[in-house]
Symmetry: C2
Subunit: 134 residues, 2 copies
């Protein structure tokens, strides 16, 4: 597989672990060091203990709705790559970055950030409307 396909496969495994509430799979997907995570509305989580702790809570939460990934695009460079995608959580859309790092031939997750967005769930090359608050 090309790097982009490999990264998309790991990205898909991440959403599968999320859907299956599979903490062990989620734990294996994240790298051992240099990890961070910004869930919507949360503080910045630094380090594997904080990040995996958040996932343990999320995957245990019986009210956690299913999260689906749409419009995934890869930007990769050597042994670093990120997926830009839209997450749909019920009828709420989030713009998402999932960052991956390859070591010894294995891509693992090092960063996740999801931001609520107001627009229809689509990627765009177009310029945004001017005058919005940064």
């Amino acid at each position: 597989m090309f790097d982009d396909d490999e990264i998309l496969a790991v990205n898909a495994a991440y959403y599968a672990a999320f859907k299956d509430r599979d903490f062990e799979a989620m734990s294996r997907l994240w790298a051992e060091d240099g990890v961070s995570c910004i869930h919507p509305g949360w503080v910045i989580l630094l380090g594997r203990t904080a990040v995996l702790g958040s996932w343990r809570d999320i995957l245990r939460n019986p009210d956690q709705p299913v999260v689906t990934c749409r419009s995934a695009t890869v930007i990769a460079n050597d042994d670093e790559g990120r997926v830009l995608c839209i997450e749909l959580v019920e009828d709420i859309a989030f713009a998402v970055t999932n960052q991956f790092r390859r070591r010894e031939g294995v891509w693992r997750m090092v960063h996740h950030q999801a931001s609520p967005i107001n627009y229809a769930p689509a990627l765009s090359e177009e310029e945004p409307p001017p005058g919005r608050l940064h």
Copy 2:
């Protein structure tokens, strides 16, 4: 300088360009390829044309408030690094990732994402409260 200091210096230059509404400086800070940006509430911007177009609009906007960066932390690895920080925009706080890539000895920005947060502007190693919507 160590890599972390170099990355923090470029991160500081980014906020200086923002504060000074200096589009040329902002343009130089961003890499030529492989760039993306997720402003709060916006669609995902892919590619230098879309990203710099957004910055041209933001820096021209007379109503754009000053953005300050707090609690910057670096996670770096070879020629890739990211800054996790809090942006304060008037009394609104955002959790932010600024991603940088080094080529030919020069660190340039490749990704920015800012998410609104509900908490006090501080980084935390603590686990978040359970049961929040992902």
